[in-house]
Amino acid sequence: MTVSTDQHKEGKKEVTFRVFRFNPQVDSKPYFDDYTIPVERGVTVLRSLNYIKEHIDGSVSFRAFCQAGICGSCGMRVNGLSQLACTTQVWDVLAKSREPGIIKVEPLRNLPLIKDLIVDMDPLVGKMVHYSNWVDSTMPEAQMGKKEFLISEEEFLRYDKATDCILCASCVSECSILRANKEYVSPAVLLKSYRMNVDSRDASHDQRLAELVKDHGVWDCTHCYRCQESCVKSIPIMDAIHGIREDAIESRGKHDTSGSKHAEAFMTDIEKKGKLIEATLPIRTNGVVWTLQNLLPMAMKMIMKRRTPPPPPLVKSVKGIKIFRAMFKEMTEHVKQDHKSHNK
């Protein structure tokens, strides 16, 4: 095969693919191999890799299956960004490339490396199982097939986007929490959990939610939005994460977990002062005992270095707090309205 399309009039570019290589059988550490090939407009990163594999080096290893952006096999990092190789146009990447003419191809992050561009997906599947990422139907198995659940288009639309997920793990690779904590539930699994939780056919909502609010769960997300930005199917993943949090506070109460208490403390502070009262935040989130046990040494250090945040009475409200409070109130009302219409 040659990498060619009908648009050869538009020219060809010499492109160097700098490919991450690692074969656990022989290599003690990873390295990069450069492959320079002519590429025409309209050619995807996957087609280029196929070309390299067939014409230059058959040992370059990567996964690919449908080649049409629906199976999710070929997730990898192209110039640092996790995406599907099969739907990524080489010329588009080149236009934004920091080093002219060079495209760096690396495996997804946050999953164990197997070989070259191939990572182990088992940890992700394990998490799907741990968080019951399935509909546990309210209908007994013996009754199935006799009649349909009647579902409104409106309910369908609540999980329609979430079911676009092809488990390509781009969001997993981009997640900043997972880089620090491999046990973190991960964005894709939160998205799937949300999709199950809003499905009226599901009977396991409460158990699933109970698991999600535990350690390494939904409250660990720091809202960096990288999952959503990298989603190859443009799914609003953060809406799902917020959805689970709101649901948790609504159905389990505000004081259920340190995560919800943390969120509540933010709300109270912002409403009152327009900014955070940091000194008491740990106590309000995790309680006095936990704070003394865990943060006392750090607090001492902060005192020594005169880095302690001001005590609550000294935290002044931000400028224009009155207007801010009015805005805040209006916003909260809006969110409540949205929820009501959503839950109808």
Binding site: V26, G58, S61, A68, E141, G145, F156
Partner: protein, 567 residues
């Protein structure tokens, strides 16, 4: 190690449904699913349009009976009518069952499952979830299998059945992560590896892995393959890649136009127009191109699929994937301009010969889905019937294997047999001196098939095809694997897949050459009419002493007499 009760090869819709149903039938059984990809990657996910079932949600007067007739007529009377009965009568139940366990479906105004018109169907009975129906069905099945605790062996490449006389001892497969050849001693094996249309390579809509592994395994074990010459060309593949634009696009009202801007389907199917059955519409496109009414481009001749009159809203809500694909792979936004299309090899009607319970001639071996051939699609499958097929017959395979597993005592798969398999795949593939490149052989196979065993077939073309394939098989003996690693040797896997395609290509070409008539997807220029007197029968291809040997099997008839097929 204790033998497995059931080993399922393939983790698509058929394999997963089989696993679920087998566990339901007898929870005490020891069941494993083997797949060369993670099951959620399987090609079921690419099915866009939907699954047919006479639910009567859209057209109140739809009936199972009408579904049966449409399917038999669509298959040009080659389908076995008792099998079609099973397919269509089980349809409403199985679609509801999927709905009940959590599959998302688009909805009607009265909150029931939405249905839309599809080619060759007398009523709008195709149930869908926008244009990602297969994807959502596959996700649901995978999720439910995880819920039930099905044991998966992911990224295992199936090599061969271990056979003693007339019975199977189980399966031999390569673990991709280690390169080791492992034995799966099993009372029963269900082959559910999907289709073989990828042998047409660039002129195919299929995933790279739809290489007919299951059919090739069965064929090498002496199990006959049925109706292999029937390969469906989907009318609307994208011009450059062969990737698919769902029939749903025409179901929603899309037009096919030639370079004169003419809705040319009025010439071929004045009543059904764009929604004629696939074989007929594909031939119409090909004829337009052959008679010079196609557009020209360096990537080949093509026609237009025009959706622009449908409006941005409908395209965005009902056909979002199609829009994305057209933009990604053709640089065309269907809201603004027509999509360049041409026919692409899409589906294999043929497959492993089974009875209505999915049994093959070999004790303890079953086949389901596109991998098997019951036959419910006859000479041409209707859109929306393939998802249905994998569900209905996947379930039957799971149930039958679960009920029959107790009858079989598989023999041991010896270390010697494993060593021999290992030697076969790894030993001979570093030839010295002049060697062959995998990519070239695969490319040439696709080309000769598209040219000589394609939409329009003819005696001399087919002879050329047959001799080309034979030559490629010879050259394959000198193919080289340039990756010597044990870990995830995708190069080795590709070569093994090519071997499977070469074995099967021979049966496709042989069947096409022998069948001296035109029926369904099989069109002979030199025998342009259907010949019921001589050819109203299935062909069986069996491997005897290294050669394809053709046999035949009668078609089971029922309520419907042979009729001329017009639309």
């Amino acid at each position: 190690m204790k033998p497995f009760d059931i080993v399922i090869v393939g983790g698509g819709g058929a394999g997963l449904y089989a696993a679920m149903e087998a566990m339901k039938t007898n929870p005490a059984l020891n069941i494993a699913v083997l797949s060369k990809v993670y099951p959620n990657r399987s090609h079921t996910s690419a099915a866009q349009g939907g699954a047919n079932a006479a639910l009567g949600n859209k057209a109140k007067d739809d009936t199972v009976e009408m579904h049966i007739f449409d399917t038999i007529k669509g298959g040009d009377y080659l389908a076995d009518q008792d099998a079609v009965d099973v397919l269509c009568s089980e349809a409403p139940k199985i679609i509801r069952e999927l709905e009940n366990m959590g599959t998302p479906w688009s909805r009607m105004e009265d909150n029931t499952i939405a249905q839309r018109p599809f080619g060759g169907a007398g009523r709008p009975r195709c149930c869908y979830c926008s244009d990602k129906t297969g994807h959502t069905i596959l996700q649901t099945l995978y999720e439910q299998c995880l819920k039930k605790g099905v044991i998966f062996f992911n990224e295992y490449f199936a090599l061969n059945l271990s056979v003693s006389g007339s019975r199977s001892n189980g399966l031999i497969a390569m673990n991709m992560k280690t390169g080791k050849v492992e034995a799966f001693q099993a009372k029963t094996v269900i082959l559910a590896t999907g289709g073989y249309a990828k042998m047409y390579w660039n002129r195919s809509s299929n995933a790279a892995g739809n290489t007919g592994d299951g059919q090739a395994i069965a064929y090498r074990a002496g199990i006959p393959l049925k109706d292999m010459e029937f390969v469906q060309f989907h009318p609307t593949g994208l011009r450059k890649s062969g990737l698919l634009v769902t029939e749903g696009a025409r179901g929603e009202g899309g037009y096919l136009l030639n370079k004169d801007g003419e809705r040319f389907m009025s010439r071929y199917a004045p009543e059904k127009m764009e929604l004629g059955p696939r074989d007929l519409v594909s031939r119409s496109l090909e004829t337009e191109i052959l008679q010079g009414r196609g557009f020209d481009s360096p990537a080949g001749k093509y026609l237009h699929l025009d959706l622009t009159h449908l409006g941005a809203d409908l395209i965005k809500s009902r056909l979002p994937q199609i829009r994305e694909m057209s933009m990604n792979f053709e640089g065309v936004d269907p809201i603004e301009e027509p999509i360049p299309v041409r026919p692409t090899a899409h589906y294999s009607m043929g497959g492993i010969d089974t009875d209505n319970q999915t049994r093959t001639v070999m004790e303890g071996v079953y086949a389901a889905g596109e991998c098997g051939c019951v036959s419910v699609h006859g000479a041409n499958r209707l859109g929306g019937n393939s998802l249905l097929d994998i569900l209905v017959f996947g379930r039957i395979a799971g149930r039958t294997a679960a009920e029959e597993a107790g009858k079989f005592t598989p023999g041991r798969i010896s270390e010697a047999e494993l060593a021999e398999q290992f030697e076969e795949i790894r030993g001979g593939m570093h030839p010295s001196g002049r060697y062959e490149r995998y990519g070239e052989l695969r490319e040439e196979l696709g080309q000769t098939l598209a040219l000589n065993v394609g939409i329009f077939r003819e005696s001399s073309l087919l002879q050329k095809g047959i001799s080309d394939i034979a030559e490629l098989k010879e050259r394959f003996k000198k193919v080289r694997i340039s990756d010597s690693s044990d870990v995830f040797n995708t190069n080795l896997m590709q070569v093994l897949e090519l071997k499977n395609m070469l074995d099967l290509a021979e049966t496709v070409a042989a069947g096409a050459y022998a069948r001296q008539e035109s029926r369904g997807s099989h069109t002979r220029i030199d025998f342009p009419v259907r010949d019921d007197a001589n050819w109203h029968k299935h062909t069986l291809a069996t491997l005897v002493k290294g050669d394809v040997t053709l046999g035949e099997k009668p078609v089971t008839m029922g309520r419907y007499e042979l009729q001329e097929r017009t639309y």
